[in-house]
Amino acid sequence: MAHSDIYAHIDRSAYTNLLAKNSPITKGFFALSALIISVSSQSIIVPIIIFTITTVLLLRFAKIKAHFYLDLLIYPTAMAALSCLFIALFFGYGQALTQINLPWFTWTIFKNGITMSVNTFFRVESALSCLYFLVLTTSITDIFITLRRFKVPRVVVELSLLIYRYIFVLLEISVKMNTAQKLRLGNSGLIKRMRSVALVAGNLFIRTLEQGERTFVAMNARGYDGNIRVLEDLPKPKKAAIFGIVLFDIILAIAIFLTTNIGVV
């Protein structure tokens, strides 16, 4: 899927999934605590549990389409697999698993390198599922309003909301320019392609500046005082849900403690 499709899709699903009306605090708390537990894990068991639970929540309860979720997972998974293979083959220390004698050096594969790599792979997958849980169920506006409530500086939230808006505006312009260049054979050959990218970037920057000036005038005319007010009509988190998540986290934390020394080789 092209980049631009991905964010449009993620954004749409954040507004239309069946968990969209739940409190962002509950969803954020669940995703972030599960994320932190995943990255603290020393074995593959807890990440597998977390991955399974978040995936079930996404597919069954939020009703995210399975093929879209798979599309999202596949590229980072391929990247993770490649990086982990690299770690398994070249990294680690201590007890050797096997040694291969090559004419110019001895290539040693370490037990601990394999363990590190497998653990990392599962950690990445589980962390990714938590990240997707957050972004596929919660809209960016909700996330930033919640951040504002947690005392993130106003100017940062303000800047973020504006950036979020402009990303879509600029994206549309850049897609149009790109299409125009393609139609005029602007991408035929390396040098032409470089020039095309630079031209899009340059024109986009100028459009950006002009748009910025116009927006400022328009906002001032409507009484802009440095604060964008959004309707903060968010549902309150349910006590039972928060309690359930805390319990879930405690169980997983104990599981991490119990599975610390389970290696794969």
Binding site: H3, I6, D11, I36, S38, V39, S40, Q42, P76, S83, F91, G92, Y93, G94, M116, T120, R123, V124, A127, L128, L131, Y132, L134, V135, I140, I143, P153, V155, V156, E158, L159, S160, L162, I163, Y164, R165, Y166, I167, L170, L171, S174, L190, R193, M194, V197, A198, L199, A201, G202, L204, F205, I206, T208, L209, Q211, G212, E213, F216, M219, G226
Partner: protein
């Protein structure tokens, strides 16, 4: 180079957050000062942030056949200074994690440190040094963007080598990561440098007045808001 979500285990992601936060806090302090003084700077900075995000979705061909993208933060550091660039980068990186699953939340600290702090600071320092040395503007921009890009990857290699050591210790691991990245990154850094020069020339041609106002280049008889931003 984005370190993906979950790639850094427990103590490391917290450590990188702790290291990155003072820089970002300083950036936020500068940002609130600037926006108080010059209110029209906020929509402009927001557009710069969106610009960096969109730029990173424009694929750039690299010699090794893989495609990658310009980071744009080197140029941003030259135009608005490294402090504000670090705030813009943390927001853009958060959006890349949230909207593209490129990077991640736990690795945000490490990614901000390499791409939003080290890269832009190197770029800015190189730019200032090249101005002092009276190098031509395009050479200065090229060096700033290319070196900023390279140092981002050096930092990423350090971050990964600390987590995944080899039998010969940290330095060996650093060299291994560094070598792998160098294959794709040296051509990319050169690509980014060239792109920055073309982009900058384009800006100087059509928006020279603005660059002069921001005091990036000198035009006679233009007052500077950069002074105001700086103070």
């Amino acid at each position: 180079m984005h370190i993906m979500e979950g790639f850094l285990p427990n103590p490391w992601w917290e450590i990188w957050f702790a290291i990155a936060m003072p820089f970002v806090a300083y950036g936020i302090y500068r940002l609130s000062k600037v926006t108080k003084k010059i209110p029209e700077a906020l929509p402009l900075l927001a557009l710069m942030g969106a610009f960096i995000f969109v730029l990173s979705s424009l694929k750039l061909p690299s010699v090794t056949g893989s495609t990658s993208h310009p980071t744009g933060t080197g140029l941003a550091a030259v135009v608005v200074g490294p402090g504000i660039t670090s705030v813009l980068s943390i927001i853009v990186l958060l959006f890349q994690a949230l909207l593209l699953a490129h990077g991640g939340i736990t690795t945000l600290g490490a990614n901000v440190f390499s791409m939003g702090i080290v890269g832009p600071m190197v770029a800015y320092a190189v730019w200032i040094a090249s101005k002092k040395a009276r190098l031509p503007t395009s050479a200065g921009i090229f060096l700033a963007a290319a070196l900023g890009d390279l140092f981002t990857y050096v930092t990423t290699s350090v971050q990964l080598a600390l987590v995944f050591p080899t039998s010969a210790g940290f330095f060996d691991a650093f060299l291994k990561f560094g070598t792998i990245f160098a294959i794709t990154q040296i051509p990319l850094a050169i690509g980014e440098g060239i792109l920055a020069v073309i982009l900058f020339d384009f800006l100087a041609k059509y928006k020279g007045q603005l660059l002069a106002t921001l005091k990036v280049i000198k035009l006679p008889g233009v007052s500077s808001t950069q002074e105001e931003i700086k103070s």
